[in-house]
């Protein structure tokens, strides 16, 4: 790449692209700052996400891989704004929404976020249960352990420790990459479909699935979580460039993992005509086709994803509600210093876990509902974000440039239209 540009510059006679010299300490700083973006990006592949990607791979093979490229770009653009707002103001998104638009908008959007997140948290625990059952652990054992573990991590550590634990969880997502390789996919076809968009607009199922992938990838909790984490980590403007790269790496990782999930299921389940609706079913279905090891990797990934999201999603909700109502918040604080924050956090974890354990709930219906609420909430959040990020009295000189505005408005507009379509499809589909 560098060789290419150097040569191009020599022929042209002027400098087209300059490569800044990177110092080793800059890389060190990146490792210090990284976290909020990568964690948000990786947690995006939660149980709901894995279910969607598995289902996309099982139903349509490699066909929809190009959508991942699109959603990576859209996600990076949207999350960058959150990172910037967090670094400039030192406040979370919920706090900025309350201060800029008053309680009415803040209250209703936070309630919607709460409801949608509760649905998602239940799904995370269902994923842990399903993953555990593949290894022969009954949910009556796995769920209480998961609840205790997640609560312990959230309660008895400071922010940096929790972040490090979450980054370790991120590493375990490699399980999906291995699962992808074990499935022995057609790499040439997969890569070709990743770059070349193909779409049969008459196929309603295919269109809905494409939109669902984008809808799953860009969810409101992510904007709230990343900005709150940037604010809590006290990432300042001077370190913002590293946070920006953290965000971009996170957005890339989201779809990097998603790519391997789609590939793994496409090479196995799609080939054998097996359709799946949940992530647990996908892992179970993989075992006879791709082998015990690939299936186990998939199931292990599920447990890992479930545990990680069972910390991050309740935290996102607790951060947002506390910021919106002006209560002390933060994983860095002790229980006594931020009681409401921790009560929300622990209640969500315990409720999410126990609901899977004791009641015979229709989880797919709950997921559809929470996806619909997310679909209604996301356009509102994106519009509010665009207004805030362009407000000079809040952002100073770090408002969007004209170019950024064109890109962000186009992205947000596209996402809004797609999510609106998804909500309509979901309602009609019922």
């Amino acid at each position: 790449m560098r060789f290419f540009f150097t040569r191009f510059r020599a022929q042209n006679g002027r400098k087209l692209i300059s490569f800044p010299r990177l110092h080793w300490w800059q890389l060190g700083l990146f490792f210090v700052v990284m976290g909020p973006g990568i964690i948000t990006g990786v947690v995006d592949n939660d149980i709901g996400g894995i279910a969607t990607y598995s289902s996309a791979g099982a139903s349509y093979g490699y066909q929809l891989l190009w959508v991942l490229l699109l959603s990576t770009i859209a996600l990076a653009i949207i999350q960058e704004m959150n990172a910037r707002m967090g670094a400039v103001t030192g406040k979370g998104l919920a706090a900025l929404i309350r201060e800029s638009f008053g309680i009415r908008i803040a209250f209703y959007s936070l309630i919607a976020l709460l409801i949608a997140n509760v649905g998602n948290i239940m799904a995370e625990f269902a994923g842990i249960a399903a993953g555990g059952e593949i290894f022969g652990i009954p949910r009556i054992v796995s769920i209480p352990i998961a609840i205790l573990l997640v609560t312990y991590i959230a309660l008895y550590s400071n922010y940096h420790k929790v972040e490090r634990i979450l980054l370790i969880f991120c590493l375990f997502y490699l399980a999906y990459v291995f699962a992808g390789f074990l499935a022995k996919p057609d790499w040439a076809l997969a890569l070709n479909n990743s770059i070349k968009p193909t779409m049969d607009l008459k196929d309603v199922g295919l269109v809905t699935m494409a939109i669902t992938i984008i809808g799953t990838t860009i969810a409101p909790w992510m904007q709230f979580y990343q900005q709150a984490a940037v604010a809590e980590k006290k990432i300042l403007l001077k370190d913002y460039q590293y946070e920006k790269w953290d965000t971009y790496v996170g957005s890339f990782l989201t779809n990097f993992v998603a790519f391997f999930i789609v590939v793994a299921t496409a090479a196995t389940l799609y080939k054998n005509g097996i359709l799946v609706e949940t992530a647990g079913d996908a892992a179970k279905a993989l075992i006879p086709i791709a082998g015990r090891f690939a299936g186990s990797l998939f199931a292990f990934g599920l447990i890992n994803a479930g545990l990680m999201s069972a910390i991050v999603l309740p935290a996102s909700t607790a951060y947002s509600l506390s910021e919106g109502f002006g209560w002390d918040a933060g994983i860095d604080k002790k229980f006594k210093e931020a009681p409401r924050f921790y009560i929300i956090l622990v209640t969500l974890i315990v409720f999410g876990g126990l609901s899977i354990l004791w009641s015979k709930i229709d989880l797919i219906k709950i997921m559809i509902w929470s996806q619909t609420i997310n679909g209604i909430l996301l356009p509102l959040i994106l519009i509010l974000m665009l207004i805030i990020v362009n407000n000079k009295s809040i952002m100073g000189k770090h408002t969007n440039t004209k170019f950024q505005n064109i890109i962000t408005i186009a992205t947000a507009g596209g996402v809004i239209i797609l999510t609106a379509a998804l909500v309509i499809f979901t309602i009609i589909g019922k």
Partner: protein
Amino acid sequence: MRFSEKLVGMKVYSHKGELVGSVADFVISKDKTHPAVNAVVVLFNEVNYIGKTPLLENARKIKLIVPWQEIKFQNDKFTLTQGEDQLETNYLGKSEILVSKDIVDSVINTTAGVSIGRVNDVVIFEQNGRLEVFGLSVGIIGIVAKLGLEIPMEIIDRGLGKSFAETVISWKYVKDYKPNKGSIELNVGEKISTADQIDWIESKSILPPKNQKKRDPLIILPWNLVRDVFRKSNKKPRH
């Protein structure tokens, strides 16, 4: 006692009785115990003069600060006391802040750094023809009133036969206001020993506070609540 947000948006009439605009905000001095409204920010539909100088073209939808001396508040109606062409150009003083823009939705912190919550609204009352700030509303009524849930609230209120009480932090506890951080600092430590309360019906009239009830503590932390419940149950006479 009235929530400031109920006064914002009220129509403003000229001294001839014509509609000229609406109330956009109130200007108060932050360093008084019960700060009076010094001026009203009026959103004029159209003005021909600014600072007694005629404009080349009429300006539409423009916000101007009108000092309290030049405005009259009577029977829920704001009226300018002189012609619009006589309005001076006014600026915010050093210790002056805006009620809606600066105070509402800010975080309230104690000196110990504990955050009590956000200001849901500012409670204002009328005394001797002037509007004065009573305090910061931090309870549920302030939220409900703004969420557009007043009718169900009214029905419950009447059905119960007793009124909901709203927790209000009196302005006398306000130590400082930090505009950049968007936070209000109180001059109290972890707990405020007294909290003023106004009830639902009271929140709808503009009259000064009547019988202020005092309760303790204001910051209801979960374990305080549990402790209070136990205390109350302990106090019950044993048979």
